[in-house]
Symmetry: C2
Subunit: 309 residues, 2 copies
């Protein structure tokens, strides 16, 4: 029994924490989003890979949903004193991850290898693969022009209108080693409750990954990150709307319908269940809001159970 | 009245703090050593430039003699947890300086420009020029082979025998913009009480700088960093011996004799004064041990006075 999970950041981190409590972490492979990756102060930041790695290593700042618990921000303060941009919060301990990654990438190592080294050193027990070692970057078109995702989300606080979203570089990208195999050989594939456009979208945009999802004999289940017509967290609603999708579990199902078997949707959205069936997607209705550890595990158990049925 | 000072790290920082109290800092140009520069975690570190800049900005950790006062080492601890070498202590605030420098150098800016930006941002009021924007690195030959200066000094704690010292890259190096002019146009040039081999040596190894010292009409005075047959701090003794020089004020005078007018030596070394005259160097005997701020200023005043006489 092996489960492969497609993951963004905050929502995925919570779900994966539950999943690796419900089943042994060694049975889980995470395929992580790199579309949010960015250069800050010359350092290569992989926000989603880090959030997932920190969560699975038990050091995530759960209040913030990113960064290392109890981190300090003294380097950031010194950067501000030097007149450098500090809209992207990098903690002192967190910096070590970015320094190590940047040094190794500059030495020619792949992002996969560095990601593996970091998760092992930090003690995360499930395998974490970036979707790709190639350059893929989410770009958001706003009335101010094209922005990187972190510029849109962190610097501009996702307040700007969204006119379009692209995955720069995706056409030439290749799945990282192990990604296609992890989908092909899994007993089940879970798409975490992550932003469909900017967390799962950049993964699916890598040629070969959507094909692997279509081809796999594994059941594929997604958990809707949209509950009651709005995202549980983050700017998914605005981004889905920009892509012409309904901001609902139905929109999620539409986006994934080519390869999706089951969609887990929240009890308050159960009225949408019949429409899912029309898309060829079997609805699984349960409580999806993970407000504490118990609920994280309960959701994971419900998903695993649905896969078994 | 403008004074140009050739400077290493710790000893120079103390003297320059005294000098910029004795005379207005705007009248001082520092030419700093870059032979100790090194890459740590992929960051460009300029230990001597930083020590001088921090001292003149009033933020140097005076107990350690390097780094930022009251700094924390959380990134360093996280680096250790990631399995990275941590023999070179980089504080969290200090990191900002190295991040900024590295980012700008990678963008193609010169070390001079970055050094100027950093000293301005930190509020150091005298001009600080790296001796060169070219690559010059002090290499120390030990029974373990060639080591970079920081490897020898910090990692190996200067415990290894020294067989030779070279300045890698110096032959092709050029003085940084303003360096030759600062020597040519100064009213006086002061060689700080710094290690003659690995702090002042790499500056003198840059073609054009020793020539400028010979050509300048300014008086050139050095303060001996060797007192009572041993360096006040650091490994200068071992390094001078490796270069076949007596470990004394006399050895310092020999090394600088081509262009040195005055040598300030400690009262306990006054017996060496007649021998200096034989080298064509006028001795100035005073208390040179800077154990507190008052003595830093007193030494600077004595030097300025000797220059005036």
């Amino acid at each position: 029994m092996h489960i492969t999970a497609l993951a963004g950041g905050t929502g995925a981190a919570k779900f994966l924490r539950g999943l690796t409590t419900a089943i042994p972490p060694e049975q889980v492979t995470v395929i992580g989003n790199t579309g949010d990756d960015t250069l800050i102060w010359g350092l290569h930041i992989s926000p989603d890979l880090d959030t997932v790695t920190y969560a699975l290593a038990g050091i995530l700042d759960e209040t913030k949903g990113w960064g290392v618990r109890g981190d300090s921000f003294r380097c950031l303060a010194a950067m501000a004193a030097l007149g450098r941009d500090t809209w992207f919060n990098l903690g002192d301990r967190d910096l070590a991850t970015h320094l190590l990654r940047t040094e190794r990438l500059r030495a020619g190592e792949s992002l996969s290898k560095v990601t593996e080294a970091i998760r092992r050193a930090l003690g995360a027990r499930c395998r974490i693969l970036p979707a790709t070692d190639s350059f893929v970057r989410t770009r958001v078109l706003t009335p101010q022009g094209w922005l990187g995702f972190q510029e849109f989300f962190v610097r501009e606080k996702a307040l700007l209108d969204v006119l379009d979203v692209i995955y720069d570089g995706a056409d030439e990208a290749r799945p990282a080693p192990g990604v296609v195999e992890a989908i092909a050989e899994a007993r089940a594939v879970i798409v975490c409750p992550s932003n469909p456009i900017t967390s799962i979208g950049p993964i699916l945009a890598v040629p070969g990954i959507a094909e692997a999802l279509t081809a796999t004999r594994a059941k594929v289940v997604a958990i809707s990150p949209i509950v009651g017509g709005a995202p549980v967290s983050g700017p998914a609603g605005k981004l889905m709307a920009a892509k012409g999708l309904p901001v609902s579990a139905l929109g999620v199902a539409q986006l994934y319908s080519a390869w999706l078997d089951l969609l887990v949707l929240d009890t308050r959205d159960q009225a949408l269940a019949p429409e899912l069936l029309g898309l060829g997607v079997r609805p699984v209705v349960t409580d999806t809001i993970m407000t504490d550890r118990r609920r994280e595990v309960a959701l994971a158990r419900a998903v695993v159970e649905a896969l078994g049925s």
